[in-house]
């Protein structure tokens, strides 16, 4: 056990914990925009009830996201001081923009959503909802610009060990950003769609909140049915960038140890890093080349082409990628079959499918987490690909007891917060839309207080 390993573990733990909440709120914010617009243009009260209901859930997840995000803003300096000193001129401004836009748009317009229903006119209220959604989107954008720069650094020159930005346009408009940012955004929208559809399915199964449940189910499923194929396309485009810019990561994802022409696609296997081979391998000939280049006969490189010190570990990217894709395909199946039946008004009769949709809510979260594992573990041994190794990025002089102490501290606190947060969201969801009421004391800066507005009678939901 080294301080380097513990620092990586700590960053992985804190960032994985964090990403759960924003990936949900980004999608949820857009869903709120849709609901508010529908409520305004159709005048149907069901949309208003749904809006008020989901706004509260948005509040809790938003609060947890903010709280867990604060740690990230400091961890670059505490554990990765060499990284932040060397690449601070690039990463610092990007993260400054992230927190500034987040604060200016999300926090302030969220205040309007909570307080402003009676004080501003409906179009202004809709515009505020849109601003919150744009705020979460911009936040995600800056984070993706920053991470994409770490994956494929551009627009900098090295001056005495510092990476000085010389072309911000190249950094922000890098093609890698514009493939990975939509991929993440779509993942967030799908997360929102599946959580909404799952809640609707839950209500239908319990025979409660009929109108709201049916609306949630339909809207969630239709959206997912449309977005899921687009997401698969952007996933493929992201894979193309990995193939061209990070061949070692690509080989690890594909489970390919040696050069092949034409290359087979390893569907499933147990990679053995010691013997540099796969056990129990299930392969489809030629498909590997086709996936990589859209050609029948392309030569694809294996991991053993790279010197040992430049190789990422294979196990985590290999399995994470397959779990991610598996979740995606399962979601596609659920979304299409559910939408088809909902379109024909037959979904209510297929209780097994309703159960499947209800239980599908963890899928988008699992897909997002495993997707990030592929991206981040696959980038190893580099922190900034090709420029700065992870072992050289860590704070010099960091000791094991120090990092162990902080890891234990955050582990304990996060577990406690997570349990309470999930409990609150569960209570809110159980209470249902009819019981939704916005608490007067919840403020723009206190999204968590929204959870306090659970009515006393939530146990007796009608």
């Amino acid at each position: 056990m080294t301080a380097l390993f513990l620092s990586r573990l700590q960053f992985a733990f804190t960032v994985s914990f964090h990403i759960i909440f924003p990936s949900f709120t980004i999608g949820l914010a857009m869903w709120l925009v849709v609901l508010e617009a529908l409520s305004m243009f159709t005048g149907r009260p069901v949309y208003r009830r749904l809006f008020d209901f989901w706004l509260k859930i948005f509040g809790v997840t938003f609060g947890l996201g903010v709280v867990s995000g604060i740690v990230m803003a400091f961890e670059f300096g505490t554990n990765w001081s060499r990284l932040s000193a060397a690449t601070g001129p690039v990463q610092g401004p990007l993260l400054t923009y992230e927190s500034f836009t987040a604060f200016a748009l999300e926090a302030s317009f969220f205040g309007v959503l909570v307080f402003g229903r009676k004080r501003v006119r409906p179009p202004a209220y809709l515009a505020s909802t849109l601003m919150v959604a744009l705020g979460t989107t911009f936040s995600a954008f800056w984070i993706m610009v920053n991470n994409s720069w770490m994956q494929a650094p551009v627009g900098v020159k090295e001056v005495a060990g510092l990476y000085v930005p010389i072309d911000w346009a190249a950094i922000i408009f890098s093609p890698v950003v514009w493939v990975r940012f939509p991929h993440m955004l779509l993942a967030s929208y799908l997360t929102g769609a599946f959580c909404v559809a799952a809640t609707g399915a839950w209500y239908r199964l319990r025979g409660r909140h009929a109108a709201e449940g049916a609306a949630m189910l339909r809207m969630g499923l239709y959206l997912a049915a449309i977005l899921m194929p687009v997401q698969l396309l952007f996933g493929h485009l992201t894979g193309d960038f990995v193939h061209d810019r990070q061949p070692a990561k690509f080989a690890a994802i594909e489970g390919r140890w040696h050069d092949e022409q034409p290359a087979a696609e390893v569907v499933l296997a147990l990679p053995d890093e010691a013997d540099e081979t796969n056990h129990f391998s299930l392969e489809v000939p030629v498909l590997g080349s086709l996936v990589a280049t859209m050609r029948w006969d392309s030569k694809e490189v294996g991991l053993t082409d790279f010197p040992q010190e430049d190789r990422p570990p294979m196990l985590i990217p290999f399995f994470s990628f397959r779990i991610m894709v598996g979740c995606g395909l399962l979601m596609l199946l659920l979304a299409w079959s559910g939408s088809w039946l909902a379109w024909q008004d037959r979904l209510e009769r297929y209780r097994k499918l309703l159960w499947g949709i209800f239980l599908s809510f963890p899928l988008p979260f699992v897909a997002i987490l495993t997707g990030w594992f592929v991206a981040e573990v696959g980038r190893q041994p580099w922190t900034v690909y090709g420029l700065l190794r992870t072992a050289e990025a860590v704070t010099p002089g960091l000791t094991v007891p120090q990092t162990l102490a902080s890891l234990a501290l955050f582990g304990t606190i996060y577990v406690a917060i997570f349990c309470f947060g999930v409990l609150f969201i569960y209570r809110l969801l159980r209470g249902g839309p009819a019981a939704a009421e916005i608490a007067p004391h919840a403020g723009p800066n206190r999204p968590l207080a929204l959870a306090g507005s659970i009515p006393a009678n939530w146990r007796t939901d009608k």
């Binding site: 001081s81 923009y97 604060f103």
Partner: protein, 327 residues
């Protein structure tokens, strides 16, 4: 450009200290009473603003990262344990604030968490400032002190001093916001706390002289530095006045003391950012980074955030009305 970001950083740190200072102070005062009625009035006084106050810490942190990455890297890694503990405590304190009223049997846990969290966060912040003034162990521009290299008697003294200082701010805030018993108690505490602050400042001054800290020589080189402690002292003396014309006087005077102390430190550090090792010029990010931040974040977003904060304080201004209880 560098100067703009130094000013922005100084402003966000000062705002954080003043605003979250009274929050943390109220948190510590909360721990001093067991009376439920008083406690809920105290929480009500900070509930609309405390979270917003804390965001200045994030603003200061990201500005430091963006504009002065080498100092960000140096300080955060040098203060590894205190920073981690402070973040954990601030998170726990925030969650305790929200969960307290929802909890049943676990309520005492959240209450202790809230009070103790405030105390520990204040102590850590004071210790870090003290360590910076004392001077960090450095070799060739890099921190060389290990996990506890920042720890010194002087730093710990500053930590304890800041706890008293924040409590004074908190008491001042309660005098402004509260009425009745809460206000009377706070008013009674103000002179004692002011006394405590002065004693701690005198002790710190004596200790600095005894250890012959480098920073003290600055005072001989720059006699104008004495102006700030003089202003602070004058403000402190106003706190002892038996009759006050205005409820805002204690809070305002305490804020003046803090601003004076802040200015004293900042000007005795100048032009160093990490005293006597890293200057502001050395620490500043390349011009390309600073101007990229300036044309968006600096010129538009920062003023927006300030205005937004002002509006929030106006909306929640005035005395707490007696009929509105927190939750």
């Amino acid at each position: 450009m560098t100067l703009f970001w130094v000013a922005a950083l100084a402003l966000s740190i000062l705002l954080y200290v003043l605003l979250d200072g009274f929050d943390l102070g109220v948190g510590m005062l909360f721990g001093l009473t067991r009376d439920e009625a008083l406690r809920s009035r105290m929480l009500a006084s900070i509930s609309p603003v405390w979270d917003g106050n804390q965001t200045w810490l994030v603003v200061a942190g990201t500005v430091l990262f963006g504009a002065f990455p080498s100092v960000y890297a140096l300080l955060l890694s040098a203060f590894y344990l205190p920073v981690m503990a402070m973040l954990a405590v601030l998170i726990f304190r925030g969650v305790a604030f929200e969960f307290r009223h929802k909890a049943g049997r676990s309520r005492p846990l959240w209450e202790i968490g809230f009070a103790a969290g405030s105390l520990v966060a204040a102590f850590i912040q004071g210790t870090m400032v003290g360590a910076l003034a004392h001077g960090l162990p450095m070799q060739n521009g890099a921190y060389s002190g290990g996990p506890f290299g920042w720890c010194s008697g002087f730093a710990l003294l500053c930590g304890a001093g800041l706890c008293v200082g924040y409590t004074l701010l908190g008491a001042g805030w309660l005098v402004v916001k509260a009425e009745g018993e809460v206000k009377r108690r706070a008013e009674r505490l103000v002179p004692w706390l002011a006394c405590g602050v002065l004693i701690f400042l005198a002790l710190a001054f004596g200790q600095a002289l005894a250890e012959d800290l480098k920073i003290m020589r600055r005072w001989l080189e720059r006699p104008y530095l004495f102006a700030f402690p003089a202003v602070g002292l004058a403000a402190a003396l106003r706190l002892f006045g038996a009759r006050r014309r205005h409820d805002a006087t204690p809070l305002f005077m305490t804020a003046v003391i803090f601003a004076a102390a802040f200015a004293t430190l900042a000007l005795s550090f100048w032009p160093y950012m990490v005293p006597f090792d890293v200057t502001i010029e050395q620490a500043a990010a390349p011009r390309e980074s600073l101007s990229f931040m300036f044309w968006g974040a600096g010129l538009f977003v920062l003023p927006l955030v300030l205005i937004y904060n002002l509006i929030a304080y106006r909306v929640f201004g005035g005395k707490l009305s007696n009929d509105i209880h927190y939750h």
